[in-house]
Symmetry: C2
Subunit: 650 residues, 2 copies
Amino acid sequence: MKSSQTPAELRTLRNFAADAPDEKQIETLKRMARDARLDAVLMTGIAGSGHPAGALSSMDIFNTLFAVADLTPANCCDAAHDRIVVSHGHTSAGVYASLAAWGFVDRDAARANFRRAGSPFQGHVERMVPGVDWGTGNLGQGLAAGVGFALADRACGRTGARVYVVMGDGEQPKGQNAEARRIAVKENLSHITALIDANDIQIGGKIDDVMPANIPLLWAADGWNVIECDGHDYQALYDALKRADVSDLPTVVICRTVMGKGVSFMEGIAEYHGKTASGDLLVKAIQELGGDPAEVERLKKIRTGDLPKGRAVPCEKPSLDLGTPRTYTDADKKDGRGAFGTALADVAKENISVPGRTPILAFDCDLLGSVKLDLFAKVAPDHLVETGIQEHATATVAGAASTAGVVAVWADFGVFGIDEVYNQQRLNDVNHAPIKTVLTHVGLDVGEDGMTHQCIDYVGAFRNFFGYKLVVPADPNQADRATRWMLGEPCAVCLAVGRGVHPVILKEDGTPLFGGDYQYEYGKIDILRDGKDATILAMGHMAVSAIAAADALKAKGVSAQVLHCSAPLGIDAGELVRLVSGKPLVTAEDHHADTGLGAIAALHLARAGVAVKMRNLGVTRYGDSGKASEVVARMGLTPADIATAVESLR
Amino acid sequence: MKSSQTPAELRTLRNFAADAPDEKQIETLKRMARDARLDAVLMTGIAGSGHPAGALSSMDIFNTLFAVADLTPANCCDAAHDRIVVSHGHTSAGVYASLAAWGFVDRDAARANFRRAGSPFQGHVERMVPGVDWGTGNLGQGLAAGVGFALADRACGRTGARVYVVMGDGEQPKGQNAEARRIAVKENLSHITALIDANDIQIGGKIDDVMPANIPLLWAADGWNVIECDGHDYQALYDALKRADVSDLPTVVICRTVMGKGVSFMEGIAEYHGKTASGDLLVKAIQELGGDPAEVERLKKIRTGDLPKGRAVPCEKPSLDLGTPRTYTDADKKDGRGAFGTALADVAKENISVPGRTPILAFDCDLLGSVKLDLFAKVAPDHLVETGIQEHATATVAGAASTAGVVAVWADFGVFGIDEVYNQQRLNDVNHAPIKTVLTHVGLDVGEDGMTHQCIDYVGAFRNFFGYKLVVPADPNQADRATRWMLGEPCAVCLAVGRGVHPVILKEDGTPLFGGDYQYEYGKIDILRDGKDATILAMGHMAVSAIAAADALKAKGVSAQVLHCSAPLGIDAGELVRLVSGKPLVTAEDHHADTGLGAIAALHLARAGVAVKMRNLGVTRYGDSGKASEVVARMGLTPADIATAVESLR
């Protein structure tokens, strides 16, 4: 995209080189803001859709930030730059107008193609627009993203880097904000500054009528430095940000603003939150902002032309030595989570002191020993971030960090790492965040903790996303290798392992099947046993039961092949259909029977137009609370149940 | 279950009839608590699993609450009773021991069958145990549940009812708590009292080391009355609760406690959060609590016997006149959300002044006009609960309210009503909460707001649960009737509608197919057009495009039947297989192609062993931001795309 020129006279404001903006600088900033307000009104007016009043309200905040932050068209695709997160992403028209004013994007392209299908200038800011480091839209996420960037800055040694998060006042009550505030304070992230566009209005009207909250007190209660200022006064904004820049605490600047600022009929009117100016009112708004109404027709014509292209979202493969895989035997009594924790600690040890290697940050929500991050914490104590029982913020913190030069590993129970944070993970996916999520307690294998803690829906949940890879290892050896593979991948991966110790999967010759030189290959179907009469397709530790079932069937003269799929979302569909065609199929998983591997296999078969006799063994109600083996048995998932199912199909 | 005897001398404590407990009463309470501590140690010791130290820490709080609250074995299954929500559900052993002491459950049954597969005495408290009104386990949910109960009390006119919520200190940082606090204050719920078991220890160690939070200040900042007291001193606890009982504000009592209280080697030791006493230590603990170690063997024997049964979770069909359905024509330009909002307002109007009818509470998260609750708000302003941008708490508030004598309707955009609160909805499902969730903006139909706001995974998400019914109407007439049906159902229902105005579905004779006397029937497949050459199976407003495709095919001499499924999770599978067998099948939905109706159809076909040529048209990447029609077109979901897909299979 072409760039506008950034005024030379503003250069001394960047990085707070000047004590204060001088009169000429303020004039320039005001002129830029007026033009950007015009652009925001044009964008939303031409699109006939969008959120003009918030864009106008935040405009002077955006403009000040782009003046002071070390974020430029030249450095915005690198890992090292100051970051400006816009949490109230519906002010996108304001963001694009500011980005155009500061040369990140072409002004006409932005003005003409706002909310046009296929354009990067979407209704809510997304990362394909240069200068946007975190796509938002669902409110209450931005502060946590900023915390993630700030943690990545520290881990990468980007001293002097700053993170700014602009937020709406209506989103202040979202609980995730409070969680993020506490992480910032605990981690001493003094280089993060939040700015609240406090225009006192949200969709439903006055903030105090919709949901009262004592905003300054809430931030102060969590330990933030609180500054209030006029959000349309450049002297005041610069001064507040300069004070924040030298504060020892994270700072929030509560910017008192007027919704719809600059357009007379929008000022202070809640309706213009999501309503655009049209017809005569659009002309009036353009004129008030010194624009030419004829621009509307010119831009509408551009809107019918070629779609502008967004940037390729930056993504780098981690630079890590993945170490030497370990091979476990049953004598090791290793559970999947332990194999993960050990491999992670191995890789951390291998890389932590080597210059140029990508730093690993591990995130824990008060389950350090249970999720086996204690091993990592011993090797790399400074890279372990303990965020307490605050999963919503943690998911976003880790997601954002993963885009900013670190490998971010978040380990948690399944119900917390995906169920509790489903939307945060969805937004990580939207943001192309290469977060590594490790679910250490999935399936009925969780046992005694019962139905609230048994994550029997992780496949069904991740299946709704598009970018996430999901890996469910069969045994500790595959878990070891999958962990190492995951750490080197430049995309989002979820590793789902169980709580229990299960036997190591062996070849028929008695040696570990996933040991030795075995390398993890995403999507590959593991053939655990050959057989011609039927297929048992298993996922995770149920592979062990599947083999036991096949052994039992063999004794009865039935030859069942046993397949394992560690990558239900990436399974090689053609190979699957080839392998299972022509004989009965029993799928076995301690996952919801309608949404897991069995359902995926059924979908691939149906799409291929192939029918086999099939039974899907899985979880068909919320599980019991008791020993995992008993819980599994009461759900009808024992080797005997599997064998019986096979026989019932013959 | 059999009941123990509740001591007569404690009777004057109930409802705070006494000014203070006398010495004899305190002696009795202490004795009961000691016995209950013994039981909790026995339970966890025999199960070899559980959370003893928190149970011991909270025991005097539980015991005081059961003494003062109007919650008894006699009234606990009715709608009207004081409620005690235990948010830190892992203290279940303490809860069961208290319930046994107060006669709710049989003491031996609870002691012997804790965490035994199939027993109601699960690892985290669940509603099949009498006296448990809300199942918890995942932390940070209990306060919102309490707020829901308090709102239901008010709506049902249960003056004098009280709600107590016992919480851990480790779960205080969960953002959902702050959201719930604000709702309680805004709604003037002075009859709710939270009690924090402040033992200063969580799994990872000291609270201040894991995640510092200024707990009293946070509650005060949100407007709560804050009291602190010794959580093991019955005089102090009674006094604090009595003060809370007359407070004009919701009150939090911060109870200073000792983790593991009463067992010398557990006191103050974080390890005993999730570790039980065994062997000699179990004997030592039993002896310290005045018990007989021989009980262990006796109870273990009981544990091998018959499983105790839990109660049937109480659930009543709402008493509502569902009014007269409306029939819309295209001239009405009615969108699905508008049809919902109108029908809800109709039903509210019909019932609001009629004695004996179930009150309807509607919940809004600052989207009143968008989700069309403005119509309800006009009819029943006192029954509209505006909770602001705080979806996590709202989901639980509405869920809990729905179990307590009101019809709770929560309307929100799809991404907020399910994606953002996936786990809250899962826990509603675990709790058999008959919440009515209305997703007003689902599918690509959301248009300009773009990928963060396009909920293309609601089927895939709800599919992971077990109790929820999901309804996706084809047009405003079906939406009207489905809304009325939903309001009368005694179970959880999600109604998913779109943002856009689409044509009314007509019969071939030109009259509205879902108009007139049409009654909504859950699970039924709607036959929109007959045809012999192929099947188009559509969901929601895509039915209109499916008919258009069939019309286009007809012109080419291809006779396609058009089916609509409004109940993807409850579809009549046998009928589906019968209808679609023997001809090509194209499924069409503006939902994720791998997890929606197409995937469900594929699963049923595969399970039936039936293969047809099939193509699943749906969403295969995150959607664009633009006019809905253009977004749909760019995803390849136009009538022409559907027709082409049909032809490609012939």
